[in-house]
Amino acid sequence: MNSLTLSKIKLNSIKQIETFFLSPASPRPLGILRIGLSLVLLAQAFLIRGSIFDFFSHDGLVQGELADYLSTPGTPKISWLVHAVAGLGISESFCIQATCLVYVLSLGLLAVGLFTRTASILTWTLHWTLMNTGYTTAYGVDLYAHVFLFYLMWIPAGAAFSLDVLWGRRSSEASTPARLGLRVIQLHLCITYLCSGIEKASGIQWWNGELLWRALMLPVYRQWDMSWLAQWPLLSKLGGWSTLLFELGYCVFIWPKATRKLWVAAIVSLHLGIAIFLGLGLFGLIMCVLTFSVFGIAAEPRPKIYRSTALNSDPLFSPECAT
């Protein structure tokens, strides 16, 4: 192979990488991601509204120094705000309520896509602050929300299905930032499923059926009496094996058009199963939203069927569609 051929291959590879990351994409998957994520987090806020002082106050379930010891040092917490405004006579409970209220309002703005960029920055900041404050209460749904709220700050998530588009504040054209953002999110999901699948496969419980059985029998996850499963160990084994197949195969089979729909359906079914049978509703929903939005919604730019003088050119929000 001569140097000319090598440089041709190199150029081709670079071109393919650039096309993969930079060819314009529709922002619709990002819009669906934004709406789905916001709605799940709004539901979460509603469900824990009665426990905010238990989870976030200095005298809550995990108190003072212990809470600091168990959390990540140097990360923002509500106590920072409390100390900052203590001289003004503002109480901790007011700070907690105000933080939660602003967080819910910013989530609302994010969901409808109004002032989307500002709302995403505010939502990410407040979500991270609340997550760090109630660090010991956080679990999978919070970790994923934190990651994908971070991405929402950078990507054009308000460029589809948003009031910003409807009111002509921004364009819904296919764009390079939409593709770049979509690719990073897609690859991030592939990494999470691959690593999760490898770790699961390293344990015997996912192979011999004990995992599903044990999880379903633990009081914290038990929704129904599933003790009959002990008589059908093959069923439990099949559940474990199919989970391994879907997670380990995710980073391969989610890309080709021929298998993408099947894999999206499989992953959504898996997470709906987790939501229904293990009672992890929000976790199941957020995982469904992630895969469905970034792999289940077509990102290829639609052919232009009309020219609009306004910035708004998304057919879904066009005046023609409204009539």
Partner: protein
Amino acid sequence: MNETNRKYRIWIPIAICHLLLVLLGASYIDLSTLGGKYLGYYGALSGAGNSYGFFAPGVSGQLRARFEVVDRNGIQKEVSLTSSASHEAELRVGNIIDQFAGDVEEDEDDDEDGSAQEDLHRSLAASLAGTVFGHHPEANQVVVQFEEMVPVSMKAYREGTRSQWTSLYEAKFIHHLQEARR
């Protein structure tokens, strides 16, 4: 590739570096150990340092905390930690209880005599007892018990064995003001 797209080229290596950090984080490599505190902070800030091993490699068991309140007349009653109505809130309380197990393992290397673990257990129990005292002003003392249930295997279940809660830790906390009033 047009001019508009060219200006975004710089983001490709940035995105790849970020995804490499995501891969390292997901592989349980501590970003702060790897690249100092700033990389660690970036991992926490962006979520790149997260790991994703839910229900992996397996399920061990479940912890629970029980609280017994004794009032000044010596009457005992078992109470719950919160009056939360939602399953979501209960899951989060469960995560707090799980700190009892998680941090024991993490501290073992640095703490050969186990006193730091004992301190942590005591602090966690005291913190939870403090909440119970707050909810039950009549309480003179609160007894906190941590218990664990490890599910039996399918085979054992078929043979008639059933999972049981076993006690791991118990601590009694006395309200000094209430005690003084007696």
